[in-house]
């Protein structure tokens, strides 16, 4: 995503809905995730291989962050992940994200983002998540 199309968090208000992300977590991505995480997660529990909830959250958060003009030095403060249903590997998902709350404290902006991750037809919730980030108003690296 080019810099000009990125969302600037200081220019949007509480309740802002980010453009819906349509994505898919394929076998290759999942295998890389499992290797990096040194995970013994089983991909074939039932009839179809599934994506672990933390992998869904990690990858969709990463995709969202790439659409935001996030200053260097931003820190992840907390994360909530509620798994509503399984996601099969290779199935498309829709990721809806809302800016739930934005506040400023001691030179940092605290941001709460609420994620609703649904299946392609939007008929089934797979994950509900809440991400809290602490964003420096001025780069800490300068």
């Amino acid at each position: 995503m080019s810099e000009s199309t990125k969302v600037y968090l200081d220019q949007v208000d509480n309740g802002y809905c980010f453009p819906v992300i349509q994505t898919m977590i394929g076998k290759d991505i999942l295998e890389n995730y499992a290797r990096v995480m040194n995970s013994n997660i089983r991909f074939s529990r039932n009839s179809a291989p599934i994506v672990p909830p933390a992998a869904i959250a990690s990858i969709t958060i990463g995709e969202l962050l790439s659409s935001i003009n996030l200053p260097p030095g931003s820190i992840h403060m907390s994360e909530e992940i509620i798994s509503r249903s399984e996601l099969e590997v290779g199935k498309k998902i829709n990721v809806e994200v809302v800016l739930k709350n934005k506040s400023v404290r001691e030179g940092y902006m605290l941001i709460s983002l609420v994620f609703n991750i649904k299946n392609e037809a939007n008929t089934n919730i797979i994950i509900e998540a809440k991400t809290v980030l602490m964003i420096p108003q001025e780069s800490t690296g300068e």
Partner: protein, 131 residues
């Protein structure tokens, strides 16, 4: 309280860099030693979602597919994990799930500490189990 088997994970810069590639989170606080050295952390730090993933893995080992189909994980990142850290992810059952109802909510208290016993992260997890 029932204590559960501890999960041990070592953090190094390769894991952090590889995780950045997989997740797409390329914040320089994780990847750029020069930038990170000037930060409050004095060096690169691991992504919080790596720790959240370890907690989720911990629960997956106990509950298998049920964890992906109804588990709730709430994580607070208290102090960053850094390259060289050896993390212990442990947990206890907070409530007594024994009961007669068909579905019982089991609550876990989880923690992640480094090799110096410093708290990196704490979490709670909840899941309904069938008797």
């Amino acid at each position: 309280m029932n204590k559960l088997p501890t999960l041990i994970r070592k953090i190094d810069q390769k894991i952090i860099s590889d995780y950045a590639k997989v997740s797409g989170d390329n914040n320089p606080i994780h990847l750029d030693p020069l930038f990170a050295k000037k930060s409050q952390f004095k060096g690169t730090i691991a992504h919080g979602m790596i720790i959240a993933g370890y907690f989720s893995d911990f629960m997956d080992r106990i509950h298998g597919s049920d964890w992906s189909n109804g588990g709730t994980l709430k994580v607070k990142f208290r102090s960053p994990a850094k390259p060289g850290d050896i993390l212990s992810i442990s947990g206890k059952i907070k409530n007594n799930p024994a009961g007669t109802t068909s579905d019982t909510l089991v609550k876990y208290s989880l923690q992640c500490e480094n090799q110096r016993g410093e708290s990196i992260s704490t979490a709670t997890a909840e899941i309904f189990i069938n008797h």
